[in-house]
């Protein structure tokens, strides 16, 4: 199936140069395939730890609050449907990506106590414009992974907006002295992949800035929306 996809004629933005299809040489074709392969490798994959822990929480919820447990199953199935069926699309409507983040955040809410200060602001005027699926997922995931503590007060502050055909993500979280070394290590890989993926998808047209201070960690991401979707 992968092979079939990669032999398709190049389309849309992931092609390496702005040339038209007629101008495609063998070398460009090979370069395109190489990038597609790299992208497939770098595609966001759902974190099994997230999945198993969420199932474990739902498992507990069934006994104490069956209605909330049912809601959580619906939330999780929508999240999985998006990752499994749309995760390999080149572009999805921005609203789909935002819905996914909503499912993710609500499922994380079940897992953590109320004393984590969680904000999710969306101000989007072009919800149908295209973005690569799951392009924001890694940043949100990392914010939860490193932003939550029970010893100190902690926060995760996410805001998404659009302006002049561009998408803006701002994601900030509290940083904690006694970080969990295991999760920091795996978070590093996720961030590196996300960065590489952005470099391949939007080589010159995105901006990713990471602001790290002693007690906060912030990601600013800007990328162009695909308005032809």
């Amino acid at each position: 199936m992968d092979k079939e996809q990669s032999t398709k004629k190049p389309q849309l933005s992931a092609k390496p140069s702005g040339n038209s299809i007629e101008g495609t040489t063998l070398q460009q074709q090979l370069e395109y395939e190489r990038i597609q392969q790299q992208l497939a490798f770098l595609n966001y994959q759902i974190n099994p730890h997230f999945l198993m822990n969420t199932l474990n929480n739902i498992h507990a919820l069934i006994a104490i609050d069956p209605e909330r447990a049912q809601d959580a199953v619906v939330e999780l199935s929508r999240l999985l449907r998006y990752v499994l069926y749309e995760g390999d699309h080149q572009f999805v409507p921005l609203q789909r990506e935002i819905d996914f983040l909503g499912h993710y955040i609500r499922l994380m809410r079940i897992r953590f106590t109320a004393d984590v200060d969680l904000k999710f602001n969306v101000q989007v005027d072009q919800p149908h414009a295209g973005v690569p699926p799951l392009v924001l997922a890694t940043f949100i995931e990392n914010a939860f992974k490193h932003g939550v503590s029970y010893v100190e007060s902690s926060f995760v502050d996410i805001s998404i907006s659009t302006k002049d055909g561009h998408l803006f993500l701002s994601c900030r979280n509290s940083k904690h002295a006694m970080g969990n070394s295991l999760s920091v290590a795996s978070g590093g890989v996720g961030l590196r992949n996300a960065r590489q993926r952005l470099n391949l998808l939007f080589p010159d047209s995105h901006r990713l800035v990471i602001n790290e201070t002693a007690d906060t960690y912030g990601v600013e991401l800007e990328l162009p929306l695909n308005l032809d979707l």
Binding site: H49, M52, Y150, H176, G179, N180, S181
Partner: protein, 249 residues
């Protein structure tokens, strides 16, 4: 009955764990903790036989926490790890976990892990008991003097012997456990060979003393700590004083 604590940063996961613990009659839930830091506080206050511990927690991971408990210590609580990540299993067993529960887990799996925990706890208890029993027990056979006295062969642990006194063809063995000395038909020279030379010494033609029982020594006499005052023979004085010189401050 095992006293256990449950540790998990996620409230629902902790609730689930606590519910399962309460369903196993052999387990008593002492505390539920939302972090390893909290659990350390409980361990300092309470007697805890075993912990059920999540691995991936913010602030301090379960693995690091259990490592810090010191697995060498025989008194350290037994550990069952719970985690959503199977790749931690290997590392978990490296820190000597009794078992490993992969989230989400069923009551059956939890019962099985508890069974292993209870079994391991019983082994530990049995080992501890046999160790302390061994300490309280009669000493090993190489620590005992077998002496024919009062028409039977008596076993007398060396450490119970205070001193031995020759009386003609007989000798009297003064011990802790008997009010009267044991009388045996045996030359002093024979019994001297049967007692360990590093703990007993001939100090007189008719006396062998337990060197650990000396209260004080002066002017050719040694006083035992039961009050008995024994002379030191001229031909034994040099050897005794040499022994004393090695020990005197």
């Amino acid at each position: 009955m095992l006293r256990v604590i449950a540790i998990d940063d996620e409230p629902l996961a902790l609730l689930q764990l606590a519910t399962y613990i309460q369903r196993v009659p052999e387990l008593t839930l002492v505390a539920r903790c939302q972090s390893a830091v909290e659990a350390a506080g409980v361990l300092a206050r309470e007697q805890v036989d075993a912990i059920f511990c999540d691995i991936n927690m913010p602030d301090l991971s379960g693995l690091d926490f259990v490592r810090a408990l010191g697995r060498e210590d025989a008194e350290a609580p037994l550990v069952v790890f719970t985690t959503a990540y199977s790749q931690y299993a290997l590392e978990g067993f490296k820190v000597a976990a009794v078992d490993f529960l992969l989230k989400p887990y069923t009551m059956d799996e939890f019962r099985r892990a508890s069974g292993r925990l209870i079994e391991r706890h019983q082994q530990q208890e049995a080992l501890r008991e046999s160790q302390s029993a061994q300490q309280a027990e009669e000493p090993e056979s190489d620590e005992v003097l077998y002496l024919r006295a009062d028409h039977r062969t008596q076993a007398i642990p060396f450490r119970e012997i205070k001193y031995v006194q020759a009386m003609g063809e007989y000798l009297r063995v003064f011990t802790d456990s008997r009010a009267r000395p044991l009388m045996a038909l045996l030359p002093l020279k024979r019994i001297e060979g049967m007692l360990p030379a590093d703990r007993f010494m001939r100090v007189h033609r008719s006396h062998i003393i337990n060197l650990n029982r000396i209260a004080h020594f002066s002017k050719g006499r040694v006083t035992m700590n039961d009050g008995a005052c024994l002379p030191i023979g001229d031909s034994y004085r040099a050897a005794f004083e040499q022994w004393l010189a090695r020990r005197r401050a």
